[in-house]
Amino acid sequence: MKLKYILSAFVFVAFFSCKNDSEKKTNSNSTETKTVKNTHKGQASVELGEGEEPNVLQVAMTYKDKDGNKPFSTLVVAVQAAGVEDALVNTGPLTVFAPVNGAFDKLPEGTVETLLKPENKAKLGFILTNHVAPANYPIKQLKKEAKKGRKLYMASGKYLIVENKDGKMFVGGTEVLMSVKVSNGWIHVIGDVLVPEE
């Protein structure tokens, strides 16, 4: 038979979703005309599956310290206000220097409130992307970067200096307090906001 090719050895298995069918029925039984909103949802809306490790954003949103506080709640609010959630969930690899809530308190009074205003969305986004390196930098690698005098290229387009001070790692002048492995890279916790120079 002329139709037989190597590809015919691949299995054709079809799957049918029952959900579509029930939706269809609901619609046809309903007398109301419903307008379906075409709400685009980014990759940040993908839920954590059973047995999967959480990504940068999922860890930032759910992480609790020993007192039960969420140390990254201000950061998460800022990320959402800037609309950069999707940038923290993709396959990466990403290295994120995550300022704790106290870091934002160190900024001059009113800074956070101002940045959260809609008209400052771009500026806020610029500051936040200065905390994200599109690369895989566990502590071991950061030490290597310091030793070789290599700077970190951040998603803001700016560079950060890495220093090893007696085994303690400093990035952009602030100390890395703790590191967390996440599914799409690393979170290094810091105590300062890394405001880029304009």
Binding site: S8, A9, F16, G92, N136, K143, S183, G185
Partner: protein, 589 residues
């Protein structure tokens, strides 16, 4: 298209049949066979309902049956069928997945021997093989082969419900012609459906019946712990002669050269689609049992009783269309039959033997599929027709054009065409199941590194290394977003055989990496998170040669590459390997 699963053919995209680990999957008694001609996937069942554990599929050319896991969506097992040729009336599963069957389309000397072709009649046999399925792991074993007369066994289906324990095979070429078959195999007005009481034969075998005879066939299994396939050549098979199990096998006369042999969800009706006949034959299981009891026979063929046509026949569907091939069913008492010559699907009521609706298809339909079609409980909202010829329908693409499939809504009185799409050839047959069942089975997302028992696997970058063993160089390599370790290797020489044993260290869902090497006479590898896979490279020229990641893995995918330095044959350069200037695992803290 969600996923293409290579089974009997090499697949360079995934490295299946190219990697050292998967090559044994394609081993046969004839050696390594790189391709297959698969036909009929069928999903495993529990209590007459598809359960979504495994898909079984047959290979026609080099008779084999494969089992695919619907957890990993990979081929886990392939078993060759000895004494068979043209493994076509396969691979259908009984209602509790007790057996998957494999029937012979091209009868052959059994065992094979040097003899004149013209002496075929009475000297060839057709093996019908029953493969027992281990209920926990799905492993297959040829429990017994029935040595049937030398007809062509074309398609088959199991009994279900009341007829569970029986299996039905359509036959053609009961003439036993060996040349110009299109004429000589179409002489008899009726051929047969063979009705096999497999429970009776199983009992016979359990009590020591049958005879172990020498045979040679490969049994290939995949191990998810070592990520490696093993091929074992088996040396004997249990053969059952029909005459030794009286009352287990009967022939049901069926209109001229039947193709499809389909059993309705209740198990009462056995339908033979006589591809050359003007009528479709509907047999009754209840009448068959009565006829056997009454000995309503019309002689025998090679000692197998032929039941009188009227004693087994429920009725015929006259002039339903031209060239009936296959029938599937809904739960409302209707059959849906494909007609190749008249290019249509016909819906008809089995009890009334009346046509309800007909719908043209474009063109020349082969199989059709209703999810759970081979079960007591078809999921009868949709039907897919698979068409062989598209002629004027799509873009002309040279002498051959695409084939097509068409999706119908069959929930109402009339069949309604929902979707019509071109597809790769040939869309032979399909198996369908509700997506919810697959999701509930929780398909594999990653392979856990801690469970990786591959002898050349690594658990971390610190374990990566390069080891020379004479002319063999073994690279224990890792991959993670977005680099290989090591990525600079020196000391390889022309004439070496280099093994890249590559472990994907990712433990994140949907992050495979690939690898390929310039000058390697094999395919790329596509490696799932936590898995180790091997390819070989025999460098023939000195130089510095790059390798790279072939799967768009991450933002720095383009940077994921490395180099191997190849020195002349007599070079004294020792093996060395580094990542970022250091030996992996020996970096300064």
């Amino acid at each position: 298209m969600f996923r293409v699963i290579p089974v009997f053919s090499q697949d360079p995209e995934k490295g299946y049949g190219y990697s050292e680990e998967t090559k044994p999957m394609l081993n046969t008694s004839h050696g390594f066979v790189p391709w297959g001609d698969s036909h009929h996937p069928d999903i495993s069942q529990t209590e007459g309902t598809v359960d979504g554990r495994w898909v079984f599929i047959n290979e026609n050319n080099t008779p084999r049956i494969a089992r695919i896991s619907l957890k990993t969506f990979e081929t886990e097992e392939i078993i060759e069928i000895p004494n068979s040729a043209g493994n076509h009336s396969s691979s259908f599963v009984t209602e509790n997945s007790e057996y998957v069957v494999a029937g012979t389309r091209f009868s052959v000397p059994f065992p094979q021997r040097d003899m004149p072709i013209a002496d075929m009649k009475g000297n060839f046999s057709g093996a019908l093989s029953f493969l027992k399925i281990d209920p926990e792991h799905g492993h297959m074993n040829i429990e017994f082969q029935i040595k049937m007369p030398g007809f062509s066994y074309d398609l088959s289906h199991p009994g279900r419900g009341k007829s569970h324990g029986w299996f039905f095979f359509s036959t053609y070429n009961t003439e036993e012609a060996n040349t110009l078959m299109e004429v000589n195999a179409s002489q008899n007005d009726k051929d047969f459906i063979a009705a096999i009481n497999w429970k009776k034969i199983e009992e016979y075998v359990k009590n020591g019946g049958g005879k172990m005879v020498p045979a040679k066939y490969a049994h290939n299994t995949w191990d998810d712990d070592t990520h490696t396939a093993t091929s074992v050549m088996k040396k004997e098979v249990l053969v059952v002669e029909p005459k030794d199990v009286p009352g287990a096998i009967y022939f049901l006369p069926t209109a001229k050269s039947p193709h499809g042999c389909d059993v309705d969800p209740t198990g009462e009706y056995i339908i033979g689609n006589g591809k050359l006949a003007a009528a479709m034959t509907v047999h009754s299981f209840t009448k068959m049992l009565k006829a056997i009891e009454d000995k309503a026979f019309d002689g025998d063929a090679y000692g197998i009783p032929i039941i009188k046509f009227d004693a087994v026949n429920y009725g015929t569907l006259n002039q339903p269309g031209l060239g009936p091939l296959h029938t599937e069913f809904d739960t409302r008492g209707n059959g849906y039959t494909t007609f190749f010559i008249s290019s249509e699907v016909v819906k008809w009521n089995i009890k009334d033997l009346k046509v309800i609706d007909r719908h043209p298809v474009y063109y020349s339909v082969g199989h059709l599929m209703i999810p759970g079609g081979n079960s007591r409980t078809p999921d009868d909202k949709y039907m897919v027709a698979m068409n062989k010829i598209t002629k004027d329908r799509y873009l002309p693409t040279g002498p051959e054009v695409c084939q097509s499939a068409q999706l119908f809504d069959i929930s109402g009185e009339k069949m309604e065409l929902l979707l019509d799409f071109p597809t790769i050839g040939e869309p032979h047959y399909a198996a369908g199941i509700s997506a919810d069942v697959i999701k509930k089975n929780n398909p594999t997302k990653i392979y856990k590194l801690v469970d990786n028992k591959h002898p050349y696997g690594v658990k971390s970058e610190a374990e990566t290394r390069v080891v020379r063993k004479g002319k063999e160089v073994h690279i224990y390599m890792s991959m993670i977003r977005s680099h290989f370790s090591p990525d600079n290797i020196e000391g390889v020489k022309v004439g070496d055989k280099v093994f890249f044993h590559v472990t994907n260290l990712e433990q994140d869902y949907d992050v495979p990496h690939g690898i390929s090497m310039i000058g390697a006479n094999t395919s790329e590898l596509l490696i799932m998170p936590g898995r180790t896979t091997t390819f070989t490279w025999e460098p023939k020229e000195v130089g510095v040669w790059p390798f790279y990641c072939t799967d768009f893995c991450s933002a720095l995918h383009q940077e994921m590459q490395g180099y191997v330095r190849v020195s002349p044959k007599g070079s004294n350069l020792p093996i060395s390997f580094t990542l970022d200037g250091d030996i992996p695992g020996e970096e300064e803290e």
